[in-house]
Symmetry: C2
Subunit: 525 residues, 2 copies
């Protein structure tokens, strides 16, 4: 494990401020010293990325795909080491991290497949119509091209799948954008291991130096320098509302404002409809598993449950209470996240309007930095009276909001802000009666779910992981799945261009056999 | 012509500050008094749009298409009146405005066709794989849905095609977004006529009231109120850098930041390669037509010409000089635009480094507010030394930048900011030798053109009218052509949803026969 900053193919000399990685479960430092990068090093990384961009963008798609596959293979080759270090740095269990590593490598394979198939560039061709009246039509051909160097912030809660070689990096590299990762200081060792795997794969495939760099910092200076660098063209971030909005502000106050895709807070409301509660209250109460998995540290953790008073709801509450009481405490990612969770959940519990449905008492005394699950209850009217209840509590916490009737239920749902997900638990026969509510959920969120938990995000073509502000900075893009590549590209059209100098994707005989819209017809011929 | 503010189907009582329309060619007021809307009226228009959105978004696509067609038909029914009023208000000639009206109605027909065909929603389906290991795959289906109420600012230089019923309005209504137009104060009568046609079409098709409103203001208060309204979800604008960046700032400082698509300044560089100059200098000099058409008041007017010193270039300059001297003066859109043009072109001419290639002396003394064409010359080194030369001069002005050699030519091209278009005049056999330059042009711009003027934007599927900042606020979208609908939508996915409650676009048997990506295969079955 090389713990120094990586610019292109070179590890920088040791200098600057040192920091260590913390084992949050034991409260002790882990081996290895990491060096906060300097502003000059951040500058050098972006300049090198910009230089690499000229060559990298034009590299054959099959070569890019092979490189992405090798990234995954190199990670797999050291998977035990990666998982062990990530366990130490994050407090997450082995099984979760093994699954996350599989997701991470699968994402890379998925983008490799996408590149080889090739239709993702959205090629559109309108050929010349010299005889058109009143004016002839000129030949115009359009496709997506990469934006340029991307700055990717590693996420604390996904040390692999949304960090150094995570979804953002994979999508950016697939799009043709060089990547500069700002490693998350909570898992620098994991980051070092993964960056080493990427470096190895890049060298093996003779990729232009600078398509990947990774810098450390346990403060904000390097992130800021990277975002403000004139050659940075896009920024991605997964984390807090505060962090995301700070980056958005920096990016738009540049001389050249650039897009930031920030995935921020989401409370992922779940509406429980009456018939479903009546028929299967106890089964529905198993949702506590989604609330507490990995100490509730998911962007898709359901933080609000909505229902109308009923006998079924009382049974649901009873089962929920029993379930939550028996959930073991779990290590939280960092002491900062833990203290913030403790503060917010305590604040809620001290409110007169809030009562406790259930609270775990299974504290693991062998470990520190533990999150104890709690689920509270509030009336719909009290919920509507204070907007703080609509804010995310990151950790194993959720709140049941009880409405007097369906009208009030609609009212609370309508009062919500933008979300990544919104779910409804319903019997199919009752669903049509609540169309106003389900329409409203689709209006709020990027993903609406019937009879399932929001956690466990499928990585595929159809997934939408994004949503109206404040869930993300731009609801028009997803950060998960093949479509997430669209964040990193823009369309360019060539007008009356010389056939032999057109990109292959736009050549008349379609040498890549990709799907294209040609003179208003979809064809892969 | 009803000159009052229109909210939904109601013209508001006359109140507030009055203003009149100016005939810029004659310097006199035109008939009709217009009333600046109040903040309360702006609020009412957005609230009504938000209410209408709930119904409008779900209206059948064929009904929406029929409504768009009727908008065009109602405009055609009063085309003489529209063109006459627009001539008076804009100073643009009849033929141009007739063509612009045809473009405007064709845009509406184009979006009607797009809706009826239906594939634009980008439907993607991943069906359930219950037996997948290690985890089953859940059914997920994604498509584009409208963002919500859109505020559209009418553009001064396209009183029809980028104004009340222009490309932005057509795309927004097609997407399912209600529209509130802030009419441009330079053509309020034209706006009134077109708004009347839209109202008629909307009533005829029983569209929910509020899907279209139009407000006047000869200042900035109403535009600001519309952009800051919490129920406004997207803003589009075509105009100055100053105006566009002011709107961007307002939109991002809201509690809920919203996207602004602003099309702002572009100088549309043209690179003239040596062999082309040698072979056809006189033909290439005809570019003065693109520089001076409609007093150069196009966002795609070529404002910079680049070439290396040569005998061919001298012939080009001579022909250009002769051409430009004989261009008649033309009425500019407003006295403000004229005085700004005069000031900027005079500033340039006073610079020591700048010389005149040619200047029109054909002033039409019968009219006021005339723009006189001028083309200047500067050395590449002087051009590089002062960034003001890279700023747009809106009007019949262009500047030839003369480089000593190809290296210096590359240097000046590389120094440019983002552009809507970039062109190269070349013989096909020399083009491959200048790949660095043509790649750089594609890097700068949204549309690259070989051997043609940038003016005359084709409205179709393949067009990209947009580009890196400062040309537009977001290079990832176009404001012209069918793809411009993408500015107004976001993806939503339905997970494990009930088949009968899915939108038709996502139903398993594909009742609309649209093109979809189903389990990774493109199909319209």
């Amino acid at each position: 494990m090389n713990t120094r900053n990586l610019i292109g193919y070179n590890y920088l000399p040791e200098n600057g401020k040192k920091f260590k990685a913390l084992d949050p479960a034991l409260g002790i430092d882990l081996p290895g010293e990491f060096y906060a990068a300097s502003i000059a090093e951040a500058d050098a990384a972006v300049n090198l990325a910009d230089k690499a961009f000229v060559e990298y963008r034009s590299i054959d798609r099959n070569k890019k795909a092979a490189f992405l596959r090798s990234m995954a293979d190199e990670m797999k080759a050291i998977s035990d080491e990666i998982v062990e270090r990530a366990m130490g740095e994050s407090g997450l269990p082995a099984q979760r991290l093994q699954g996350e590593l599989a997701r991470t490598t699968n994402q890379l394979y998925m983008f490799a497949d996408l590149l080889e198939e090739g239709s993702w560039v959205e090629a559109i061709i309108d050929t010349a119509l010299p005889d058109r009246k009143p004016l002839p039509r000129i030949d115009i051909r359009k496709m997506m091209v990469p934006l340029g160097p991307a700055v990717v912030f590693g996420a604390s809660n996904f040390p692999l799948a949304y960090s150094v070689a995570g979804g953002d990096t994979a999508a950016a590299l697939a799009a043709g954008c060089p990547v500069i990762v700002k490693a998350h200081p909570a898992h620098p060792g994991t980051s070092a291991l993964v960056a080493g795997a990427i470096k190895k794969a890049a060298e093996q495939h003779h990729m232009p130096e600078g398509i990947f760099s990774m810098l450390y910092d346990d403060g904000y200076a390097i992130g800021e320098a990277l975002v403000k660098h004139p050659k940075t063209k896009i920024v991605t971030f997964t984390g807090s509302f505060k962090g995301g909005t700070a980056l958005m502000k920096m990016a738009r106050e540049r001389n050249e404002p650039i897009p930031v895709f920030a995935e921020m807070g989401s409370i992922n409301p779940i509406v429980l409809l009456p018939m479903a509660l009546e028929n299967r209250a106890e089964e529905l109460a198993k949702i506590y598993g989604s609330i507490t998995a990995n100490a509730g540290q998911f962007c898709t953790k359901p933080g609000l449950l909505f229902a109308v008073k009923s006998a079924g709801l009382e049974r649901f509450k009873k089962a929920l209470s029993e379930g939550i009481t028996n959930v073991n405490s779990a290590t939280m990612l960092t002491p900062g996240i833990r203290s913030n969770f403790d503060k917010l959940s305590k604040d809620r519990l001290e409110e007169k309007a809030v009562s406790v449905i259930g609270q775990s008492d299974k504290l693991d005394k062998e470990k520190v930095n533990q999150g104890l699950a709690v689920i509270t209850e509030i009336s719909a009217s009290a919920f509507l009276a204070d907007k703080k209840y609509k804010e995310e509590v990151f950790g194993p916490y959720s709140m049941l909001v009880v409405a007097d009737d369906i009208t009030q239920l609609e009212q609370v749902v309508s009062s919500l802000q933008g979300q990544l997900t919104a779910s409804v638990m319903a019997e199919k026969e009752e669903l049509a009666n609540y169309k106003q509510i389900t329409d409203k959920l689709a209006d709020l969120a990027g993903r609406v779910i019937l009879n399932g938990p929001p956690t466990g995000v499928e990585v595929g073509n159809a997934i939408m992981h994004g949503g109206p502000f404040p869930a993300t900075s731009d609801s028009r893009f997803t950060s998960v799945g093949t479509s997430s590549i669209k964040r990193f590209v823009r369309p360019v059209c060539w007008q009356n261009w010389s056939e032999d100098l057109l990109p292959d994707e736009l050549k008349t005989d379609n040498p890549l056999n990709i799907w294209r819209l040609v003179n208003n017809n979809w064809t892969n011929k």
